[in-house]
């Protein structure tokens, strides 16, 4: 059984379709990166997987358990790092982590270890309002790991980070080998290095699902990205031909109609 199963998921905002009939599966321990232009529907998809948004159609399951808002037990298996840090600026970094530890019914002693992991052990007593974006993002990463989740969802984990934060976040992400990870990113180089598999989205649709072993380097990913996600034709190597594929429910990209920049939803980036 797949660890995560996404079947025919669609999200509509009025007449606009943010995510259109997306299906894929994630195996336990797999790291999958979601590529797509701004407005492709990545954030909307991540928010549905995080149970923050209800699909208009389709189902999401984690080990066969449906992920609907009321299923608190399934939520305990999720860790989410989104665009926004989800932190209270008036609280210190440690207080923010302890708040989430209490809500997850986890011993608060893990918080200091996590602050150490993200390189903020000596700043834990400071309010988040005084932190840079990169530092806040690192606290947000620690927040997502407080309860040791099985499934980690990252939405643009590298965006807006300085070099120090970038290295820290990248190192933490690379250490998550035993977890199942789905990360949406524009950083093709880092995404390629991190991933076992790459999903490509365009105009709300999943237009490619490829093993990263199919690429010789990040430049190949860029080429694929441009072809699949910016309206061009996909190259000959597709999930249906030479490249090993994981999902059978993914289009080849030829049905993709939109160009870049279409709005995938109100929160999409």
């Amino acid at each position: 059984m797949a660890f995560v199963s996404v079947s025919g998921v669609t999200k509509r905002f009025g007449t606009h379709v943010g995510v259109d009939d997306v299906s894929f599966t994630l195996d336990a321990g797999e790291t999958v990166v979601l590529f797509g232009a701004n407005g492709a529907g990545k954030t909307t998809l991540i928010r549905m997987l995080a149970s923050l948004s209800r699909p208009t159609e389709g189902e999401i399951e984690i080990e066969g358990e449906p992920l609907v808002g009321g299923n608190a037990a399934v939520r305990s298996r999720l860790g989410v790092v989104a665009h926004e840090t989800m932190l209270y600026e008036e609280l210190t970094a440690r207080e923010n982590l302890r708040l989430h530890a209490r809500l997850h019914d986890v011993d608060a002693t893990v918080c200091d270890g996590l602050l150490e992991t993200v390189g903020l052990a000596d700043r834990g007593g400071e309010r988040v309002s005084g932190f840079s974006h990169g530092m806040s993002k690192r606290v947000s990463l620690a927040r997502a790991l407080v309860h040791d989740p099985d499934l980690l969802l990252f939405d643009e984990p590298y965006t807006g980070l300085d070099q120090t934060s970038l290295k820290r976040v990248a190192a933490v992400l690379e250490d998550l080998e035993d977890r199942t990870v789905l990360a949406a990113t524009h950083d093709l180089e880092r995404g390629y290095r991190l991933a076992d598999r790459a999903l490509f989205m365009n105009d709300g649709r999943l237009v490619g699902d490829l093993e990263t072993t199919a690429f010789e380097g990040a430049s190949d990913v860029l080429e694929e990205y441009e072809r699949r996600c910016t309206g061009g034709e996909p190259r000959a190597v597709t999930s249906a031909t030479a490249v090993p594929t994981r999902s059978t429910a993914v289009g080849t990209g030829t049905e993709s109609s939109g160009g870049p920049g279409d709005d995938g939803g109100p929160n999409d980036g």
Binding site: S51, R54, G69, R75, M86, L87, Y88, E89, L103
Partner: protein
């Protein structure tokens, strides 16, 4: 089970009050607003109003209602900042406990505004509450604050991402809490008969329970996109 639920309610309420004690953003906005209402009342009416009771009650409840609305608007804006509320919603807890926690902190806050407004009324309107009225006021203000918060938290969360939140909230909130305002003003009137006092209390408590139940049942659906 109930212990876990109450632990979440307490955690959320404590967090809200801690955040507010640090930022003082809501406190400043609401308390200054309440103070201004009462000071303006004292300037406008001065000694000319026949009944000081009416003046004092009017000023008190205006301050509570509009001070509370301003306070609630700011309090929920804090949840919108950095999308902090999403972090709460990701927790594996019954989401209605998050609602009750926010209602609890808001009730404490609005009760605080009410008590401070009471002091402002005494000082600026030179009005002395008799002991019986004062006792009733101290009982009625938290009950009114509870009903006010139960509706206010729901509305504020609904309008979290609306650019018109600050102006829309009082417009939508005040009509919905009319039973609270009517009960509050009636119960703080001097010389109310025992029968009427009991009837107004029943209305206030019933209204509180109904809106609390409605919020408790619907919060899950309101917060999910």
């Amino acid at each position: 089970m109930i212990g876990d639920y109450l632990r979440v309610v307490y955690t959320i309420a404590r967090k809200d009050l801690l955040v507010e004690s640090r930022s003082k953003q809501t406190t400043n906005a609401a308390f200054v607003f309440a103070l201004l209402i009462i000071v303006v009342f004292s300037f406008v009416f001065g000694e000319e109003v026949g009944s000081r009771d009416v003046l004092a009650r009017g000023a008190l409840w205006l301050a509570v209602v509009f001070g509370g609305a301003v306070g609630m608007s700011h309090a929920v804006a804090l949840e919108g900042k950095n999308e902090a509320i999403a972090g709460l919603l990701l927790a594996p807890v019954d989401r209605s406990a998050i609602y009750l926690g926010k209602v609890a902190s808001s009730t404490v806050f609005i009760t605080g505004i009410g008590l401070l407004s009471l002091g402002f009324v005494v000082v600026f309107l030179d009005y002395a509450f008799d002991m019986a009225t004062l006792t009733t006021v101290l009982l009625v203000v938290p009950l009114a604050a509870l009903g006010f918060s139960a509706v206010g938290v729901l509305l504020s969360i609904l309008m979290l991402h609306s650019q018109l939140q600050e102006s829309l909230l009082p417009v939508l909130l005040v009509p919905l809490v009319i039973p609270t305002i009517l009960s509050g003003t009636a119960l703080t009137a001097p010389g109310l008969s025992e029968g009427m006092t009991s009837a107004w209390f029943r209305i206030l408590v019933t209204y509180d329970l109904l809106v609390l139940l409605a919020g408790w049942m619907t919060f899950e659906y309101i917060v999910e996109e």
